[in-house]
């Protein structure tokens, strides 16, 4: 079964079982998101993909597409809220783009550009977070984790492992590692795992690869995320 729905007055097709965000992406319509990645179970936690469906507020990444839906995506109200939510993610962790090796390949940064984010707007939390550099090939910088859950899902669904989990409550959320010591080196992760590639920020990095592509030549240096996201089928390398 399939049908059509409209997003901001543009009619697009969908197939049965598709979510709104997937129908939109396939049709080349960008709905901002960070916790969504085609192929993984939808999570619906970053709330950037919030749209209005027939007047009701929904997460486009979890809400099923249906015949005749009228979806508002690009309204001033929604873009403003997306900007504020993105700024919330920036102040929650410690994100210093100029010194981050993910800069240019970072989806959080790219969404910030897309939403014309010029400052952090809210007071920073200056959270005390650690770096786990224990693994020979993989680095985790908890300062940059936005709890999108993608590594958790990738490890479980794609790698057949359960390397990551998210613990804690409220503002005390934290990414945890499934190993006897809690350190990455003692887990069964491997550098080839999808979970290592899937991070939308610079929280999970492959060591010694950060500057292979010079700044200026990276994904979002070349094209806005609105274009890349609609082309992207599978995970991108961290470059």
């Amino acid at each position: 079964m399939s049908g059509t729905l409209t997003i901001d007055d543009q009619t697009i097709p969908f197939t049965d079982g598709q979510t709104i965000i997937e129908a939109a992406r396939t049709a080349g319509v960008y709905i901002p998101h960070l916790c969504h990645r085609p192929g993984y179970t939808p999570h619906g936690s970053c709330k950037l993909c919030t749209v209005k469906v027939n007047g009701r507020t929904c997460s486009a990444c979890t809400f099923p597409a249906a015949e005749g839906q009228k979806v508002v995506n690009n309204s001033e109200e929604l873009q403003e809220a997306r900007l504020r939510i993105t700024q919330m993610l920036f102040v929650e962790g410690n994100h210093f783009c100029p010194t981050c090796e993910k800069s240019g390949n970072c989806e959080l940064q790219a969404v910030g550009y897309h939403l014309n984010m010029l400052d952090s707007h809210f007071p920073h939390f200056y959270a005390h977070r650690k770096v786990d550099a224990s693994h020979p090939d993989i680095l985790i910088d908890h300062n940059r984790c936005i709890f999108c859950n993608l590594c958790v899902r990738a490890s479980r669904e794609s790698d057949g492992k359960d390397v990551f989990g998210i613990a804690g409550r409220g503002i005390h959320k934290r990414l945890i590692i499934n190993s006897p010591t809690g350190q990455l080196k003692d887990s069964n992760i491997s550098v080839e795992d999808s979970a290592v590639q899937v991070c939308p920020t610079g929280a999970i990095l492959v060591k010694r690869t950060g500057y292979k592509t010079p700044i200026g030549g990276r994904i979002y240096d070349q094209h806005p995320i609105s274009t890349i996201a609609c082309k992207k089928r599978e995970t991108d390398s961290t470059g």
């Binding site: 936690s45 970053c46 409550r169 503002i171």
Partner: protein, 600 residues
């Protein structure tokens, strides 16, 4: 045996009692917590192996629930209920006193590990506060002499079983019984009435009654039951939501304490109607004191043929009820979060659709209803739907149980027909010089004394049971701050707007209350409110800004009075930040100081 062997033997026993079922992880961890005063890492590894679940799931559960700990708590773990009504009854000074005489700081464990002291979210004893918990058991009506007694018992290491019973005496005071509380009832009445009338016909009576869920959301009960009943998938489950966590609410405590049979009977007739064989009661951790009593009620019902197989001789009608304890998380009052918790996971609300009626416990059709809802259905089954629909308003039929607390002469349980004016309720409970009323708890609505002719109803002021009165001596910001802190503490952290937004709200509100706010800070406060309210994943986020938004609507002038007159005011002490510079340069002249006030 070594300590590790002893622990393994203990864990094997606990696992066997839980039938090695990962869904009973909370039960298992509660037992480990009670035995070892924390969840040791070795226990996590062992349980992970035996239950075949990742250790990350166990760690996530331990960190999610307030009553589970990664580090050892005291042998006597003393908690003070931190609801606004406790604070209004001198809780802060009692807590400080307890800290002083027990020689332990709030939030810490004493060096000898004998005692730990901390705050906890509302324990549901608001009519008999200030209240505490010791090793999970309630200590109502605390005062200095009682703290002295408790401290002496702790120092002498007297086992909890040997403490004077009156310390734990919970009273149920019903000032105004109404439609439901006055009904006569004998065990089995509602089940018999249901089968005599017929299942379809009884569901039609529930429909006719227009009963709406008493947990707050007000979803029509008959529609929920019918939707569940027509699902093809089996088994189907009945869950009684006894996770009454909304600060100020304790009417479910009273129902379970005094009317448990009628609640269980409501679950049983629901099971008959939807075709369920298994019921679960999710009892909030704070009501541990009811656990044994409720188990006995269940056993009596089994003995009377009201639970078990072939209930009251009805061939093929088998149903039983299991009680599962929570572990301290407000969010688990939300149906889908509760189901996650019942499955042994952190209580994170699920994404909808699908609704839990279609895809609930173990992904099967599930009815989750409030304690009071089941209680009401018992009497609707006996008396019929019209009897219930004749009371209240067309949109809000029947009566509502209120737990009244705060500034009034007679805090306790009251039952009113929907549509009753707030002023009448205030007069009944002996409230004078009212500044405002919080209806429905922190997630509900604050009304000022100019709005007291409004009514209790889903279409006006809805309440799951909480009704807190504040008189003229109260500072409104103490109320708002307590509620806003509560939501930041209880946010599950799943979605970005609520996880970050509730903490931003807390900080921003504090800035204004502390007198550091300017006009632009009020704008920012409102802006955060709107993002949290409109973009959060679940009801907690949607309502977390209500304390600010509704008090701001009632008393905007009080907020304005808090603001600085300058155009800009830093959120920190300018002069204090120069202290190190002064020290390094050895200066302390007037030129080395900054004035806090920045001129326009």
């Amino acid at each position: 045996m070594t300590g590790n062997d002893t622990m393994k033997t203990f864990l094997e026993t606990v696992l066997a009692e839980a039938d090695y079922q990962p869904v009973r992880l909370l039960k298992i961890l509660r037992a480990v917590q009670a035995q070892y005063r924390h969840i040791p890492a070795t226990a996590i590894d062992f349980l992970s192996d035996k239950l075949n679940i990742p250790r990350t799931q166990i760690i996530a559960v331990v960190e999610f629930y307030s009553f589970l700990h990664a580090t050892p708590q005291g042998r006597y773990d003393l908690l003070f209920s931190d609801s606004i009504t406790d604070r209004m009854q001198n809780k802060e000074s009692l807590l400080a006193y307890a800290a002083e005489i027990l020689k332990v700081r709030v939030g810490e464990v004493r060096k000898d590990e004998l005692v730990s002291l901390n705050n906890t979210s509302c324990t549901g004893m608001c009519d008999q506060g200030p209240a505490g918990l010791v090793n999970g058991y309630p200590l109502p009506r605390l005062d200095r002499p009682k703290i002295d007694t408790i401290a002496a018992l702790i120092e002498q290491e007297i086992p909890l079983d040997d403490w004077p019973a009156e310390l734990f005496q919970v009273e149920e005071t019903i000032y105004k019984p109404g439609l439901l509380l006055t009904q006569p009832f004998s065990n089995g009445d509602a089940i018999k009435a249901t089968f005599n009338r017929g299942l379809t016909e009884t569901l039609a009576e529930v429909d006719l009654s227009n009963l709406r869920g008493r947990g707050g959301a007000g979803f029509k009960t008959a529609l929920k039951w019918r939707t569940c009943a027509i699902q093809a998938a089996t088994p189907r489950y009945v869950i009684c939501n006894a996770d009454e966590g909304e600060p100020g609410t304790y009417k479910d405590r009273m129902l379970l304490n005094l009317y448990a049979d009628q609640v269980f009977e409501g679950m049983t007739l629901c099971a008959a109607i939807i075709g369920s064989t298994q019921g679960l009661v999710y009892l909030r951790a704070e009501y541990l004191f009811l656990y044994e009593k409720l188990q006995n009620v269940l056993q009596n019902r089994r003995d009377q043929g009201l639970l078990g197989t072939t209930i009251l001789g009805q061939a093929g009608f088998d149903f039983d009820i299991e009680i599962r304890m929570g572990a301290g998380a407000y969010i688990c009052g939300e149906a889908s979060a509760q189901i996650e918790s019942l499955e042994g996971k952190p209580g994170i609300p699920r994404t909808k659709p699908p609704n839990s009626v279609i895809c609930g416990y173990l992904r099967k059709p599930t009815v989750v209803d409030n304690v009071e809802t089941f209680f009401a259905t018992t009497h609707i089954a006996i008396k019929g739907g019209q009897w219930f629909a004749d009371v209240g308003t067309p949109q809000s039929t029947g009566s509502k149980l209120l737990s009244i607390s705060g500034d009034c002469a007679r805090p306790g349980i009251y039952e009113y027909p929907f549509g009753t004016r707030i002023s009448e309720i205030l007069s009944d409970c002996g409230a004078e010089e009212v500044m405002g009323v919080q209806i429905g708890g922190p997630s509900g609505t604050f009304i000022s004394n100019r709005e007291l002719e409004r009514t209790l109803a889903f279409e006006d002021l809805s309440s799951a049971g909480s009704f807190m009165v504040f008189n003229h001596t109260r500072n409104i910001f103490d109320v708002v701050q307590n509620f806003t802190d509560f939501f930041a503490h209880e946010s599950c952290g799943f979605c970005a707007p609520c996880r970050v937004g509730t903490s931003l709200l807390k900080n921003q509100l504090n800035k204004i209350i502390d007198g550091h706010g300017s006009a632009v800070d009020m704008e920012k406060l409102s802006e955060i409110c709107m993002v949290v309210k409109n973009f959060s994943h679940c009801g907690l986020g949607e309502t977390a800004a209500n304390p600010i938004l509704t008090t701001l609507a009632s008393y905007p002038e009080l907020y304005l009075e808090q603001l600085k007159r300058s155009g800009f005011s830093p959120g920190f002490n300018l002069d204090a930040t120069l202290a190190i510079a002064r020290q390094l340069t050895q200066r302390d002249d007037s030129g080395a100081h900054l004035s806090q006030q920045v001129e326009n």
